[in-house]
Amino acid sequence: MDKKTVSTIAYLSRLALNEENGEKITQDLENIIKFVDQLENANTQNIEPLASPLEKTAKTRYDEVTAKNRKETFLERSPKSNDDYFLVPRVVE
Protein backbone atom coordinates (compact mmCIF):
# COMPACT_ATOMS: atom_id res chain seq x y z
CA MET A 1 0.00 0.00 0.00
CA ASP A 2 1.68 3.16 -1.07
CA LYS A 3 2.06 6.13 1.22
CA LYS A 4 -0.28 8.30 -0.77
CA THR A 5 -3.13 5.79 -0.55
CA VAL A 6 -2.68 5.46 3.18
CA SER A 7 -2.58 9.19 3.75
CA THR A 8 -5.64 9.68 1.53
CA ILE A 9 -7.57 7.07 3.49
CA ALA A 10 -6.42 8.61 6.74
CA TYR A 11 -7.59 12.02 5.59
CA LEU A 12 -10.97 10.68 4.45
CA SER A 13 -11.33 9.20 7.93
CA ARG A 14 -10.00 12.34 9.62
CA LEU A 15 -7.37 10.35 11.49
CA ALA A 16 -3.76 11.41 11.98
CA LEU A 17 -0.89 9.17 11.05
CA ASN A 18 2.28 10.30 12.67
CA GLU A 19 5.85 9.19 13.20
CA GLU A 20 4.90 6.85 16.02
CA ASN A 21 1.94 4.97 14.64
CA GLY A 22 2.17 5.64 10.92
CA GLU A 23 4.37 2.72 10.02
CA LYS A 24 2.67 0.17 12.25
CA ILE A 25 -0.77 1.14 11.02
CA THR A 26 0.34 0.99 7.39
CA GLN A 27 1.79 -2.45 8.02
CA ASP A 28 -1.39 -3.60 9.78
CA LEU A 29 -3.52 -2.30 6.94
CA GLU A 30 -1.41 -4.11 4.38
CA ASN A 31 -1.68 -7.35 6.31
CA ILE A 32 -5.41 -7.05 6.78
CA ILE A 33 -5.99 -6.24 3.12
CA LYS A 34 -3.83 -9.17 2.13
CA PHE A 35 -5.90 -11.32 4.46
CA VAL A 36 -9.22 -10.22 2.96
CA ASP A 37 -7.88 -10.61 -0.57
CA GLN A 38 -8.87 -14.28 -0.17
CA LEU A 39 -12.33 -13.18 -1.22
CA GLU A 40 -11.09 -13.01 -4.80
CA ASN A 41 -11.31 -16.79 -4.92
CA ALA A 42 -15.04 -16.95 -4.45
CA ASN A 43 -17.19 -17.45 -7.50
CA THR A 44 -19.78 -14.71 -7.19
CA GLN A 45 -20.99 -14.44 -10.74
CA ASN A 46 -24.65 -13.39 -10.82
CA ILE A 47 -24.83 -13.32 -7.03
CA GLU A 48 -26.84 -10.41 -5.62
CA PRO A 49 -24.96 -8.62 -2.79
CA LEU A 50 -26.58 -9.09 0.63
CA ALA A 51 -27.01 -5.71 2.30
CA SER A 52 -29.08 -6.99 5.20
CA PRO A 53 -29.82 -10.48 6.51
CA LEU A 54 -33.51 -9.56 6.55
CA GLU A 55 -35.48 -10.46 3.45
CA LYS A 56 -38.08 -7.80 4.07
CA THR A 57 -38.92 -4.26 3.13
CA ALA A 58 -39.02 -1.15 5.22
CA LYS A 59 -41.77 0.05 7.47
CA THR A 60 -42.20 3.77 7.11
CA ARG A 61 -43.76 6.45 9.27
CA TYR A 62 -46.66 8.89 9.00
CA ASP A 63 -45.83 12.49 8.31
CA GLU A 64 -46.33 14.02 11.74
CA VAL A 65 -44.24 16.16 14.04
CA THR A 66 -43.43 14.14 17.14
CA ALA A 67 -40.24 15.78 18.32
CA LYS A 68 -40.25 18.22 21.20
CA ASN A 69 -37.90 21.16 21.53
CA ARG A 70 -34.85 19.79 23.37
CA LYS A 71 -32.43 22.58 22.58
CA GLU A 72 -31.09 22.94 26.12
CA THR A 73 -30.63 19.21 26.56
CA PHE A 74 -28.67 18.95 23.34
CA LEU A 75 -26.56 22.08 23.69
CA GLU A 76 -25.54 21.27 27.24
CA ARG A 77 -24.14 17.95 26.05
CA SER A 78 -22.06 19.55 23.36
CA PRO A 79 -18.34 20.20 23.79
CA LYS A 80 -18.74 23.83 22.76
CA SER A 81 -21.83 25.92 22.27
CA ASN A 82 -23.51 29.15 23.21
CA ASP A 83 -27.17 29.57 24.11
CA ASP A 84 -28.31 28.84 20.59
CA TYR A 85 -25.69 27.22 18.45
CA PHE A 86 -23.10 24.46 18.40
CA LEU A 87 -19.76 26.18 17.86
CA VAL A 88 -16.80 25.10 15.75
CA PRO A 89 -13.69 26.95 14.58
CA ARG A 90 -14.62 29.37 11.83
CA VAL A 91 -15.14 27.71 8.47
CA VAL A 92 -14.08 29.59 5.39
CA GLU A 93 -15.82 28.48 2.25
Binding site: R14, I25, P49, L50, R90
Partner: protein, 484 residues
Protein backbone atom coordinates in the same frame (compact mmCIF):
# COMPACT_ATOMS: atom_id res chain seq x y z
CA UNK B 1 -28.01 -16.77 52.35
CA UNK B 2 -25.37 -15.81 49.82
CA UNK B 3 -26.56 -14.46 46.53
CA UNK B 4 -23.34 -15.15 44.69
CA UNK B 5 -23.64 -17.49 41.71
CA UNK B 6 -27.42 -17.71 42.05
CA UNK B 7 -29.55 -17.86 38.91
CA UNK B 8 -32.45 -15.55 38.11
CA UNK B 9 -34.87 -18.29 39.05
CA UNK B 10 -33.18 -18.87 42.38
CA UNK B 11 -33.08 -15.18 43.26
CA UNK B 12 -36.71 -14.72 42.20
CA UNK B 13 -37.71 -17.48 44.56
CA UNK B 14 -35.67 -16.00 47.36
CA UNK B 15 -37.39 -12.66 46.86
CA UNK B 16 -40.86 -14.19 46.63
CA UNK B 17 -40.30 -16.26 49.74
CA UNK B 18 -38.99 -13.18 51.49
CA UNK B 19 -35.72 -15.02 52.22
CA UNK B 20 -34.17 -11.75 51.24
CA UNK B 21 -35.57 -8.29 50.66
CA UNK B 22 -35.03 -6.34 47.47
CA UNK B 23 -32.92 -3.86 49.39
CA UNK B 24 -30.73 -6.59 50.87
CA UNK B 25 -30.31 -8.19 47.48
CA UNK B 26 -29.07 -4.96 45.93
CA UNK B 27 -26.87 -4.15 48.92
CA UNK B 28 -25.24 -7.54 48.71
CA UNK B 29 -24.79 -7.13 44.99
CA UNK B 30 -22.88 -3.92 45.55
CA UNK B 31 -20.90 -5.64 48.25
CA UNK B 32 -19.83 -8.27 45.75
CA UNK B 33 -19.00 -5.53 43.28
CA UNK B 34 -16.79 -3.88 45.87
CA UNK B 35 -14.89 -7.05 46.66
CA UNK B 36 -14.30 -7.77 43.00
CA UNK B 37 -12.95 -4.49 41.69
CA UNK B 38 -9.82 -6.31 40.53
CA UNK B 39 -11.94 -7.62 37.66
CA UNK B 40 -12.30 -4.04 36.39
CA UNK B 41 -15.62 -5.18 34.97
CA UNK B 42 -17.63 -2.01 35.61
CA UNK B 43 -17.13 1.43 34.11
CA UNK B 44 -20.01 3.17 35.87
CA UNK B 45 -22.07 2.07 38.85
CA UNK B 46 -25.69 2.96 39.43
CA UNK B 47 -25.91 2.44 43.20
CA UNK B 48 -28.28 5.18 44.38
CA UNK B 49 -30.88 4.61 41.70
CA UNK B 50 -30.67 0.84 42.25
CA UNK B 51 -31.18 1.11 46.00
CA UNK B 52 -34.04 3.49 45.41
CA UNK B 53 -35.69 1.09 42.99
CA UNK B 54 -35.19 -1.78 45.42
CA UNK B 55 -36.79 0.19 48.25
CA UNK B 56 -39.77 0.88 45.97
CA UNK B 57 -40.14 -2.82 45.24
CA UNK B 58 -40.03 -3.66 48.93
CA UNK B 59 -42.85 -1.20 49.53
CA UNK B 60 -44.89 -2.26 46.48
CA UNK B 61 -43.98 -5.81 45.53
CA UNK B 62 -44.26 -6.61 41.86
CA UNK B 63 -45.09 -9.77 39.99
CA UNK B 64 -43.09 -8.73 36.93
CA UNK B 65 -40.94 -11.50 35.46
CA UNK B 66 -37.62 -9.97 36.47
CA UNK B 67 -38.79 -7.96 39.47
CA UNK B 68 -35.84 -6.97 41.65
CA UNK B 69 -33.26 -8.93 39.66
CA UNK B 70 -29.94 -7.08 39.56
CA UNK B 71 -28.52 -6.86 36.08
CA UNK B 72 -25.36 -5.42 34.57
CA UNK B 73 -25.75 -3.58 31.28
CA UNK B 74 -23.02 -3.48 28.64
CA UNK B 75 -21.77 0.06 28.28
CA UNK B 76 -22.81 0.06 24.63
CA UNK B 77 -26.46 0.61 25.51
CA UNK B 78 -27.59 4.18 26.04
CA UNK B 79 -28.98 4.57 29.54
CA UNK B 80 -30.81 7.81 30.19
CA UNK B 81 -28.91 10.15 32.50
CA UNK B 82 -26.33 7.46 33.25
CA UNK B 83 -22.91 7.76 31.65
CA UNK B 84 -22.42 5.58 28.58
CA UNK B 85 -18.86 5.26 27.28
CA UNK B 86 -18.80 2.33 24.85
CA UNK B 87 -15.37 1.58 26.33
CA UNK B 88 -13.99 4.68 24.64
CA UNK B 89 -12.24 7.89 25.57
CA UNK B 90 -14.45 9.57 22.98
CA UNK B 91 -17.52 9.13 25.19
CA UNK B 92 -15.88 9.36 28.60
CA UNK B 93 -18.36 12.02 29.72
CA UNK B 94 -21.33 11.18 27.54
CA UNK B 95 -24.67 11.21 29.36
CA UNK B 96 -27.36 9.99 26.97
CA UNK B 97 -30.69 11.86 27.05
CA UNK B 98 -32.55 8.65 26.30
CA UNK B 99 -32.44 4.91 26.99
CA UNK B 100 -32.12 2.03 24.55
CA UNK B 101 -35.33 0.11 23.91
CA UNK B 102 -33.79 -3.08 25.26
CA UNK B 103 -32.86 -1.33 28.52
CA UNK B 104 -36.38 0.03 28.83
CA UNK B 105 -37.80 -3.42 28.14
CA UNK B 106 -35.65 -5.01 30.83
CA UNK B 107 -36.35 -2.32 33.39
CA UNK B 108 -40.06 -2.42 32.58
CA UNK B 109 -39.87 -6.13 33.37
CA UNK B 110 -38.60 -5.20 36.81
CA UNK B 111 -34.86 -5.68 36.61
CA UNK B 112 -32.50 -3.27 38.32
CA UNK B 113 -29.55 -1.97 36.31
CA UNK B 114 -26.73 -1.89 38.81
CA UNK B 115 -24.06 -0.60 36.48
CA UNK B 116 -22.48 -0.38 33.02
CA UNK B 117 -19.94 -2.99 32.12
CA UNK B 118 -16.54 -2.58 30.57
CA UNK B 119 -16.08 -3.67 26.97
CA UNK B 120 -13.72 -3.55 24.02
CA UNK B 121 -13.80 -0.05 22.58
CA UNK B 122 -16.86 0.40 20.35
CA UNK B 123 -17.33 -3.37 20.50
CA UNK B 124 -14.20 -4.00 18.45
CA UNK B 125 -12.18 -6.76 19.98
CA UNK B 126 -12.23 -10.31 21.27
CA UNK B 127 -10.44 -9.99 24.58
CA UNK B 128 -11.54 -6.77 26.26
CA UNK B 129 -7.97 -5.48 25.87
CA UNK B 130 -8.92 -2.45 23.78
CA UNK B 131 -11.01 -0.60 26.35
CA UNK B 132 -9.94 2.90 27.31
CA UNK B 133 -10.89 1.94 30.88
CA UNK B 134 -8.40 -0.89 31.12
CA UNK B 135 -8.54 -4.63 30.64
CA UNK B 136 -11.16 -6.79 32.24
CA UNK B 137 -9.91 -9.81 34.20
CA UNK B 138 -11.36 -13.22 33.65
CA UNK B 139 -12.56 -14.46 37.08
CA UNK B 140 -11.08 -17.86 36.23
CA UNK B 141 -7.51 -16.70 36.45
CA UNK B 142 -5.17 -13.80 36.80
CA UNK B 143 -4.13 -12.08 33.63
CA UNK B 144 -6.53 -14.19 31.61
CA UNK B 145 -8.76 -12.37 29.17
CA UNK B 146 -12.51 -12.75 29.59
CA UNK B 147 -13.06 -12.54 25.84
CA UNK B 148 -14.74 -9.64 24.09
CA UNK B 149 -16.24 -7.39 23.28
CA UNK B 150 -18.77 -8.13 26.10
CA UNK B 151 -15.92 -8.97 28.49
CA UNK B 152 -17.22 -7.04 31.46
CA UNK B 153 -20.70 -8.54 31.19
CA UNK B 154 -19.27 -12.06 30.96
CA UNK B 155 -16.95 -11.51 33.90
CA UNK B 156 -19.63 -10.25 36.30
CA UNK B 157 -21.92 -13.17 35.57
CA UNK B 158 -19.04 -15.66 35.77
CA UNK B 159 -17.97 -14.20 39.11
CA UNK B 160 -21.51 -14.58 40.40
CA UNK B 161 -21.86 -10.87 41.11
CA UNK B 162 -25.09 -10.63 39.12
CA UNK B 163 -27.18 -13.41 37.63
CA UNK B 164 -27.61 -11.63 34.32
CA UNK B 165 -26.01 -9.14 32.01
CA UNK B 166 -26.78 -7.70 28.62
CA UNK B 167 -24.29 -8.10 25.84
CA UNK B 168 -24.04 -7.41 22.14
CA UNK B 169 -22.78 -9.70 19.42
CA UNK B 170 -21.52 -8.54 16.04
CA UNK B 171 -19.00 -11.31 15.26
CA UNK B 172 -19.22 -13.36 18.44
CA UNK B 173 -19.03 -10.76 21.19
CA UNK B 174 -21.57 -12.54 23.41
CA UNK B 175 -20.73 -16.13 22.64
CA UNK B 176 -16.96 -15.95 22.73
CA UNK B 177 -16.73 -14.30 26.16
CA UNK B 178 -19.47 -16.63 27.40
CA UNK B 179 -17.26 -19.52 26.33
CA UNK B 180 -14.09 -18.14 27.89
CA UNK B 181 -15.87 -17.30 31.15
CA UNK B 182 -17.91 -20.47 31.48
CA UNK B 183 -21.38 -18.95 31.22
CA UNK B 184 -24.33 -19.09 28.82
CA UNK B 185 -24.92 -16.41 26.23
CA UNK B 186 -27.21 -16.08 23.25
CA UNK B 187 -27.28 -13.96 20.12
CA UNK B 188 -30.81 -13.96 18.72
CA UNK B 189 -31.93 -13.81 15.09
CA UNK B 190 -30.99 -10.45 13.57
CA UNK B 191 -33.93 -8.15 14.16
CA UNK B 192 -35.40 -9.86 17.24
CA UNK B 193 -34.11 -7.19 19.60
CA UNK B 194 -34.41 -3.52 18.73
CA UNK B 195 -31.18 -1.69 18.01
CA UNK B 196 -32.63 1.66 19.06
CA UNK B 197 -30.18 3.04 21.61
CA UNK B 198 -27.48 0.48 20.87
CA UNK B 199 -24.41 2.42 19.83
CA UNK B 200 -23.82 1.14 16.34
CA UNK B 201 -20.70 -0.72 15.31
CA UNK B 202 -21.78 -2.72 12.25
CA UNK B 203 -25.46 -2.13 11.70
CA UNK B 204 -26.25 -5.21 9.61
CA UNK B 205 -24.52 -7.51 12.11
CA UNK B 206 -25.09 -6.05 15.61
CA UNK B 207 -27.56 -7.77 17.90
CA UNK B 208 -28.15 -7.50 21.63
CA UNK B 209 -28.54 -10.63 23.70
CA UNK B 210 -28.69 -12.09 27.21
CA UNK B 211 -25.76 -13.47 29.20
CA UNK B 212 -26.57 -15.55 32.27
CA UNK B 213 -25.71 -18.69 34.21
CA UNK B 214 -28.11 -20.97 32.35
CA UNK B 215 -29.93 -21.33 29.07
CA UNK B 216 -33.18 -21.15 31.03
CA UNK B 217 -32.23 -17.75 32.44
CA UNK B 218 -31.26 -16.65 28.95
CA UNK B 219 -34.73 -17.62 27.78
CA UNK B 220 -36.35 -15.59 30.55
CA UNK B 221 -34.24 -12.58 29.64
CA UNK B 222 -34.89 -13.01 25.96
CA UNK B 223 -38.65 -12.94 26.58
CA UNK B 224 -38.27 -9.43 27.94
CA UNK B 225 -35.56 -8.12 25.64
CA UNK B 226 -37.33 -8.87 22.37
CA UNK B 227 -39.91 -6.51 20.94
CA UNK B 228 -40.96 -5.06 17.65
CA UNK B 229 -39.83 -1.45 17.75
CA UNK B 230 -41.17 1.03 15.20
CA UNK B 231 -38.12 3.18 15.91
CA UNK B 232 -35.90 0.48 14.38
CA UNK B 233 -37.06 -0.50 10.91
CA UNK B 234 -34.74 -3.50 10.96
CA UNK B 235 -36.59 -4.86 13.96
CA UNK B 236 -38.75 -7.88 13.17
CA UNK B 237 -42.51 -7.75 13.23
CA UNK B 238 -42.80 -11.29 14.59
CA UNK B 239 -44.66 -11.85 17.83
CA UNK B 240 -42.21 -12.74 20.56
CA UNK B 241 -42.94 -16.33 21.59
CA UNK B 242 -42.44 -17.52 25.17
CA UNK B 243 -38.90 -18.78 24.87
CA UNK B 244 -39.21 -20.77 28.10
CA UNK B 245 -42.18 -22.80 26.94
CA UNK B 246 -40.38 -25.61 25.11
CA UNK B 247 -37.21 -25.82 27.18
CA UNK B 248 -38.02 -29.18 28.68
CA UNK B 249 -39.21 -30.89 25.53
CA UNK B 250 -37.01 -33.88 24.86
CA UNK B 251 -34.60 -33.83 21.94
CA UNK B 252 -34.92 -37.42 20.79
CA UNK B 253 -34.50 -37.57 17.05
CA UNK B 254 -32.97 -34.13 16.85
CA UNK B 255 -30.66 -33.78 13.87
CA UNK B 256 -27.46 -31.95 14.72
CA UNK B 257 -25.15 -30.80 11.94
CA UNK B 258 -21.37 -30.88 12.13
CA UNK B 259 -19.65 -28.56 9.72
CA UNK B 260 -17.06 -30.41 7.65
CA UNK B 261 -15.15 -27.26 6.83
CA UNK B 262 -14.60 -26.40 10.49
CA UNK B 263 -11.89 -29.10 10.51
CA UNK B 264 -11.65 -29.69 14.22
CA UNK B 265 -8.48 -31.70 13.77
CA UNK B 266 -6.64 -28.39 13.70
CA UNK B 267 -7.66 -27.72 17.31
CA UNK B 268 -5.91 -28.67 20.52
CA UNK B 269 -6.44 -32.32 21.48
CA UNK B 270 -7.97 -31.37 24.80
CA UNK B 271 -10.47 -29.10 23.09
CA UNK B 272 -11.43 -31.82 20.63
CA UNK B 273 -11.85 -34.27 23.52
CA UNK B 274 -14.28 -31.95 25.28
CA UNK B 275 -16.25 -31.52 22.07
CA UNK B 276 -16.39 -35.26 21.47
CA UNK B 277 -17.68 -35.80 25.02
CA UNK B 278 -20.48 -33.36 24.39
CA UNK B 279 -21.28 -35.10 21.14
CA UNK B 280 -21.54 -38.42 22.94
CA UNK B 281 -23.76 -36.85 25.56
CA UNK B 282 -26.15 -35.53 22.97
CA UNK B 283 -26.24 -38.93 21.34
CA UNK B 284 -27.21 -40.39 24.68
CA UNK B 285 -30.10 -37.94 24.76
CA UNK B 286 -31.29 -39.24 21.44
CA UNK B 287 -29.82 -36.75 18.99
CA UNK B 288 -28.34 -37.78 15.67
CA UNK B 289 -25.26 -36.18 14.14
CA UNK B 290 -25.06 -35.46 10.43
CA UNK B 291 -22.08 -34.11 8.54
CA UNK B 292 -22.96 -31.02 6.59
CA UNK B 293 -21.04 -28.80 4.26
CA UNK B 294 -20.96 -25.02 4.33
CA UNK B 295 -18.65 -24.65 1.34
CA UNK B 296 -18.02 -20.91 1.69
CA UNK B 297 -17.59 -20.84 5.44
CA UNK B 298 -13.82 -20.45 5.28
CA UNK B 299 -14.38 -17.01 3.78
CA UNK B 300 -16.43 -15.87 6.78
CA UNK B 301 -13.64 -14.09 8.61
CA UNK B 302 -12.35 -12.14 5.59
CA UNK B 303 -15.95 -11.28 4.64
CA UNK B 304 -16.61 -10.02 8.12
CA UNK B 305 -13.42 -7.97 8.14
CA UNK B 306 -14.61 -6.14 5.06
CA UNK B 307 -18.27 -5.63 5.94
CA UNK B 308 -17.93 -4.75 9.62
CA UNK B 309 -15.15 -2.16 9.22
CA UNK B 310 -16.98 -0.62 6.25
CA UNK B 311 -20.13 -0.08 8.27
CA UNK B 312 -18.26 1.06 11.36
CA UNK B 313 -16.14 3.55 9.42
CA UNK B 314 -19.39 5.28 8.53
CA UNK B 315 -21.16 4.78 11.87
CA UNK B 316 -18.28 6.35 13.77
CA UNK B 317 -18.11 9.47 11.62
CA UNK B 318 -20.60 11.15 13.94
CA UNK B 319 -17.85 11.38 16.58
CA UNK B 320 -16.40 14.65 15.43
CA UNK B 321 -16.21 16.83 18.53
CA UNK B 322 -19.11 19.01 17.40
CA UNK B 323 -22.33 17.84 19.02
CA UNK B 324 -21.40 15.42 21.82
CA UNK B 325 -18.50 13.47 23.18
CA UNK B 326 -14.92 14.54 23.43
CA UNK B 327 -13.33 17.49 21.67
CA UNK B 328 -9.61 18.18 21.46
CA UNK B 329 -8.22 21.30 23.16
CA UNK B 330 -8.05 24.55 21.22
CA UNK B 331 -8.40 23.38 17.64
CA UNK B 332 -7.07 26.07 15.35
CA UNK B 333 -9.39 25.19 12.50
CA UNK B 334 -12.04 22.71 11.48
CA UNK B 335 -9.56 20.19 10.10
CA UNK B 336 -7.67 20.12 13.35
CA UNK B 337 -10.93 19.77 15.28
CA UNK B 338 -11.79 16.62 13.39
CA UNK B 339 -8.36 15.05 13.09
CA UNK B 340 -7.13 15.75 16.59
CA UNK B 341 -10.43 14.92 18.29
CA UNK B 342 -10.74 11.60 16.51
CA UNK B 343 -7.09 10.66 16.80
CA UNK B 344 -7.12 11.36 20.52
CA UNK B 345 -10.57 9.94 21.13
CA UNK B 346 -10.20 6.57 19.42
CA UNK B 347 -7.86 3.70 20.31
CA UNK B 348 -5.70 1.83 17.81
CA UNK B 349 -8.05 -1.05 17.00
CA UNK B 350 -10.89 1.36 16.28
CA UNK B 351 -8.63 3.42 14.07
CA UNK B 352 -7.50 0.32 12.19
CA UNK B 353 -11.05 -0.70 11.48
CA UNK B 354 -12.12 2.77 10.40
CA UNK B 355 -9.18 2.90 8.00
CA UNK B 356 -9.92 -0.54 6.59
CA UNK B 357 -13.55 0.47 6.24
CA UNK B 358 -12.75 3.67 4.38
CA UNK B 359 -10.39 1.74 2.14
CA UNK B 360 -12.81 -0.98 1.11
CA UNK B 361 -15.52 1.58 0.36
CA UNK B 362 -13.32 3.95 -1.57
CA UNK B 363 -13.67 4.52 -5.28
CA UNK B 364 -11.77 1.90 -7.16
CA UNK B 365 -11.91 -0.64 -4.37
CA UNK B 366 -15.62 -0.82 -3.68
CA UNK B 367 -16.38 -3.57 -6.20
CA UNK B 368 -13.39 -5.70 -5.37
CA UNK B 369 -13.90 -5.58 -1.62
CA UNK B 370 -17.22 -4.33 -0.30
CA UNK B 371 -19.46 -5.53 -3.09
CA UNK B 372 -17.55 -8.79 -3.27
CA UNK B 373 -17.86 -9.34 0.45
CA UNK B 374 -21.62 -8.74 0.32
CA UNK B 375 -21.86 -11.28 -2.46
CA UNK B 376 -19.86 -13.85 -0.48
CA UNK B 377 -22.11 -13.06 2.46
CA UNK B 378 -25.08 -14.16 0.39
CA UNK B 379 -23.25 -17.35 -0.55
CA UNK B 380 -22.67 -18.07 3.14
CA UNK B 381 -26.32 -17.43 3.94
CA UNK B 382 -27.39 -19.70 1.10
CA UNK B 383 -25.10 -22.41 2.48
CA UNK B 384 -26.90 -22.22 5.83
CA UNK B 385 -30.31 -22.26 4.16
CA UNK B 386 -29.39 -25.51 2.43
CA UNK B 387 -27.89 -27.01 5.57
CA UNK B 388 -31.03 -26.34 7.61
CA UNK B 389 -32.98 -28.43 5.16
CA UNK B 390 -30.99 -31.39 6.45
CA UNK B 391 -30.53 -30.60 10.13
CA UNK B 392 -32.31 -28.87 13.02
CA UNK B 393 -29.31 -27.20 14.62
CA UNK B 394 -25.60 -26.92 13.92
CA UNK B 395 -23.00 -27.60 16.60
CA UNK B 396 -19.37 -26.58 16.96
CA UNK B 397 -16.95 -25.44 19.62
CA UNK B 398 -17.50 -21.76 20.35
CA UNK B 399 -13.80 -20.93 20.48
CA UNK B 400 -10.55 -22.60 19.52
CA UNK B 401 -9.58 -22.96 23.16
CA UNK B 402 -9.95 -21.52 26.63
CA UNK B 403 -9.07 -18.06 27.83
CA UNK B 404 -5.65 -16.87 26.70
CA UNK B 405 -3.32 -14.54 28.48
CA UNK B 406 -3.44 -10.78 28.11
CA UNK B 407 -1.08 -9.62 25.43
CA UNK B 408 -0.55 -13.10 24.09
CA UNK B 409 -2.03 -12.43 20.69
CA UNK B 410 0.89 -10.18 20.03
CA UNK B 411 1.02 -7.33 17.61
CA UNK B 412 -0.78 -8.94 14.73
CA UNK B 413 -4.46 -8.01 14.66
CA UNK B 414 -5.24 -10.95 12.41
CA UNK B 415 -4.36 -13.40 15.16
CA UNK B 416 -7.08 -11.82 17.24
CA UNK B 417 -9.52 -11.84 14.33
CA UNK B 418 -9.17 -15.60 13.95
CA UNK B 419 -10.56 -16.02 17.48
CA UNK B 420 -13.99 -15.47 15.95
CA UNK B 421 -13.70 -18.20 13.34
CA UNK B 422 -16.66 -20.21 14.63
CA UNK B 423 -18.87 -17.38 15.72
CA UNK B 424 -18.76 -14.98 12.77
CA UNK B 425 -20.80 -17.05 10.28
CA UNK B 426 -24.01 -16.77 12.31
CA UNK B 427 -23.76 -12.97 12.31
CA UNK B 428 -23.22 -12.83 8.57
CA UNK B 429 -26.32 -14.93 7.98
CA UNK B 430 -28.38 -13.21 10.71
CA UNK B 431 -29.02 -16.53 12.45
CA UNK B 432 -29.51 -17.16 16.17
CA UNK B 433 -26.67 -18.85 18.03
CA UNK B 434 -25.68 -19.52 21.61
CA UNK B 435 -22.81 -20.78 23.72
CA UNK B 436 -23.02 -22.92 26.86
CA UNK B 437 -20.17 -24.23 29.02
CA UNK B 438 -19.32 -27.84 28.13
CA UNK B 439 -15.99 -28.60 29.73
CA UNK B 440 -12.65 -27.47 31.04
CA UNK B 441 -9.26 -27.35 29.36
CA UNK B 442 -6.21 -26.41 31.46
CA UNK B 443 -8.52 -25.49 34.33
CA UNK B 444 -10.28 -22.99 32.12
CA UNK B 445 -13.85 -23.31 30.87
CA UNK B 446 -14.73 -23.62 27.20
CA UNK B 447 -18.02 -23.51 25.42
CA UNK B 448 -20.21 -25.34 22.96
CA UNK B 449 -21.88 -23.37 20.19
CA UNK B 450 -25.29 -24.13 18.76
CA UNK B 451 -26.50 -22.31 15.64
CA UNK B 452 -30.18 -22.36 14.72
CA UNK B 453 -32.30 -21.45 11.76
CA UNK B 454 -33.99 -18.07 11.40
CA UNK B 455 -36.30 -17.37 14.37
CA UNK B 456 -35.55 -20.70 16.04
CA UNK B 457 -34.23 -19.49 19.38
CA UNK B 458 -36.72 -21.70 21.21
CA UNK B 459 -35.24 -24.79 19.63
CA UNK B 460 -31.69 -23.69 20.44
CA UNK B 461 -32.61 -23.03 24.05
CA UNK B 462 -34.37 -26.37 24.27
CA UNK B 463 -31.27 -28.16 22.98
CA UNK B 464 -29.07 -26.21 25.39
CA UNK B 465 -31.38 -26.74 28.35
CA UNK B 466 -31.51 -30.47 27.78
CA UNK B 467 -27.73 -30.51 28.04
CA UNK B 468 -27.76 -28.43 31.22
CA UNK B 469 -30.29 -30.53 33.09
CA UNK B 470 -28.14 -33.59 32.52
CA UNK B 471 -24.67 -32.12 33.08
CA UNK B 472 -23.19 -29.60 35.46
CA UNK B 473 -20.51 -27.72 33.55
CA UNK B 474 -22.64 -24.60 33.86
CA UNK B 475 -22.61 -24.96 37.64
CA UNK B 476 -18.84 -24.70 37.96
CA UNK B 477 -17.60 -21.49 39.46
CA UNK B 478 -14.15 -19.92 39.53
CA UNK B 479 -13.61 -20.03 43.28
CA UNK B 480 -14.57 -23.59 43.97
CA UNK B 481 -14.16 -25.65 40.84
CA UNK B 482 -11.12 -24.49 38.97
CA UNK B 483 -9.72 -27.97 39.32
CA UNK B 484 -11.98 -30.21 37.32
Amino acid sequence: MSIQFKTINELSHMLKNKDISNKELIEETFSLIDTNTHLNAFVTLNKDASLHRAAELDKNPSSLALAGIPMAQKDLFCTKDLRTTCGSNMLSSFIPPYSATVIENLENAGCISVGKTNMDEFAMGSSNETSFYGNVQNPWGDKLVPGGSSGGSAAVVAAGIVPAASGTDTGGSIRQPASLCGISGLKPTYGRISRWGMIAFASSLDQAGPMARTAEDCAMLLNEMCSHDHKDTTSLDETTPDFTKDLNLPIKGLKIGLVKEFDLSKLDNEVVKVFEESKKHYESLGAKFIDISLPNISLSVPTYYVVAPAECSSNLSRFDGVKFGKRCDDPKDLEELYIKTRSEGFGDEVKRRILIGSYVLSAGFYDAYYKKAQQVRRLIKNDFDSAFKQVDVIMSPTTRGGAFEEGSKGDDPIQMYLEDLFTIPANLAGLPALSIPNGMVDNKPIGLQLIGNFLEESKLLQVAHNFQISTDWHKKTPNRDTQS
